[in-house]
Symmetry: C2
Subunit: 379 residues, 2 copies
């Protein structure tokens, strides 16, 4: 259903608040056209397999990127280039999860991570969030309770910045607390940094990976949200001892991430173009976020909604009697406005009356109208 | 080890008979440069997710391709575009294989398929091959034996044309027999058509999928061997009732195959350019194959070797006392010639004295020297 809405929303004239895509008109496609041309003209290797962990020069640039943008001292040998962040998350499931394993996630959390991990037979435990992110005190009690029961989770998954689906950004204190708890219980953290580069306000955050002195954080990186999702280039920054097993698992599964895409991203990084692309994206999406927040305040009767300082999403708690699934279907059918129900993002069958709105993709001048159209179904 | 050799072989000056790549100088990179430029300039969707099953217009072109090149009447709704054939094979494992399942493969068979399926806990049974491909009479006795034991395999995997690693092409009679047997025992066939487009002689073959009147053949297609492995575009042609479960499994695992690559392949197909690219590839690799066969006859003292009419590989049975692993290591180290030991392609720990040589990638004028250098280690 979620993917059906996302697809239908790409049909002409639908106002899409559905997919988690950047705006294709904000992405400098003319630059990519030129880079892609040069990549094929100049690089014989553009048409052959790369090493499964990615082309070496891209892994070096990602290492620099981790230093510059995430405050993490990395080594190229700890970086594995993946088919977007999605493949990184799939590999984590494939390699690390066994039936019966307990995995801690935010509640709600990214639906595709839940879907890709569930088939491995894991038990997902969702920790409630507030405006500062995952409630780490509740996490602590949950871990204490599990421990008393002789149970230890496999890992804790978090999207600390501009979380999907809520748009919430975890405070620095919470991040520190989360790391302390993980350390105390000797747990791995999977930090999904997909939205780390799209921060619209002066907030004091840093990646959890940058606090990682014990090698317990797996960082999942993605260029999708700034450079475009179509390229399919993400990466894993792994604790050293996990690198070889990840490479061995990844190799036969995909051979390598798409090489022309790897080379385009490499040139963007090497030629220092990322910063400008990112700044343009922030400028555009901040404006769109504000337009959407204004429209929500103007038109929507909701219980509450998030006020994201980062990412691409605003999350709505609708009046109790409204079902997000039905609402999303109706508003798509009758008003051609695409939204995503919040329920599938929950681990515990709650969130029936929630809705996720994406503000990055729709054209600026349609945001107000889309939210107004939506309001007719929320009474 | 295999991937280590493949990587090292890309370093300058190594003569590579290792990787299964086409020759980057045979692939029309100037054309790709131009297509890629236009794709980014003209297509907003080049930078966004595509539907997980691939962009609709590419799936239509692949449908036409299946008709024109594989003799298969397909419908776009049965096609799922994947990250190369590799992801297609991984998805088959992920979706269809449970611990204890029996999977029938050729012996030897493609090492990465074995590696990607093994973690699902399957028991691989290898059926010996001769110059006509998998020995279907031996397959029949094996199935009879298993049945007597109350056991039914999950599927039969075959690479019927230019098989990896042997280069052997299954005869038409054997293909028909294989399909009959699968029908009799009600088994699925996974047909890996990676090398179907690289046929160098007038041989009477057709895809097993083209005989499939009962919906029991999963066809794994790939553009890698003609258009280049770097693009990472392959596809699944599925029996109708499997399409939805494959889409549901694929969605969260990778979102979609790389979109610029999908659009480049689409334009190659739509503009009728595939045929010429394929014919150039056949001309180039046929010549290289002949150069390698000549050199083998001139220099190598082997028990036997294959005479491929298709694909990219010649398979060698070395004198009994020679270990393919050690040979591959030595010849790489001392002569900078990269080869792949045959043993990991076997399901039963045999094939110690075998070696796989790729003839498509090395420059023409180095093939003779590479084989001569190799000969010094085979005495």
């Amino acid at each position: 259903m979620v993917s059906k809405i996302a697809e239908k929303s790409k049909v002409t004239r639908v106002i899409s608040f559905a997919a988690g895509d950047p705006d294709p008109d904000v992405i400098p496609r003319a630059l990519y056209a030129n880079l892609a041309k040069r990549v094929f003209e100049e690089e014989r290797k553009s048409v052959t397999y790369s090493p499964t962990e990615g082309i070496p020069e891209l892994r070096e640039e990602i290492t620099r990127f981790m230093g510059m943008y995430e405050g993490v001292e990395a080594s190229p040998s700890d970086i594995i280039v993946t088919v977007g962040g999605s493949q990184a998350l799939d590999l984590i499931g494939k390699l690390m999860m066994d039936p019966g394993d307990i995995v801690i996630v935010e509640n709600p959390s990214y639906v595709n991570t839940l879907l890709v991990w569930k088939p491995y037979g894991v038990r997902l435990i969702g920790i409630p969030m507030d405006e500062n992110g995952m409630d780490t005190h509740l996490l602590e009690s949950k871990l204490r309770e599990l421990k008393a029961d002789g149970k230890f989770p496999k890992l804790i998954y978090t999207i600390p910045t501009g979380q999907n689906p809520t748009g919430i950004t975890m405070s620095l204190d919470r991040r520190k607390h989360l790391y302390e708890i993980a350390s105390q219980y000797d747990l791995l953290i999977v930090e999904d940094g997909a939205y780390n580069q799209l921060v619209y306000e002066q907030v004091e955050v840093k990646s959890i990976k940058s606090m990682d002195v014990e090698g317990r954080v797996i960082f999942v990186g993605s260029f999708s949200k700034v450079l475009g999702t179509g390229l399919r280039v993400g990466w894993l920054h792994l604790p050293r001892e996990l690198v070889d097993v990840f490479k061995a698992t990844k190799g036969p599964a995909d051979m390598c991430a798409p090489v022309p895409s790897q080379l385009i991203v490499y040139r963007i990084l090497r030629e220092g173009l990322f910063k400008e692309i990112k700044e343009n994206a922030i400028k555009a999406y901040k404006e769109k976020r504000d337009l959407m927040l204004d429209a929500i305040d103007k038109y929507l009767h909701v219980i509450k909604h998030t006020h994201p300082v980062a990412g691409m999403f605003i999350f709505l708690w609708l009046p109790e009697h409204i079902d997000g699934w039905r609402l999303a279907e109706e508003v798509l059918e009758k008003k051609a406005v695409a939204t995503i129900p919040g329920a599938p993002f929950y681990t515990d069958q709650t969130g029936r009356n929630t809705l996720r709105l994406n503000f990055s993709m729709a054209p600026r001048d349609l945001i107000d109208r889309g939210v107004r159209d939506l309001s007719e179904f929320i009474k």
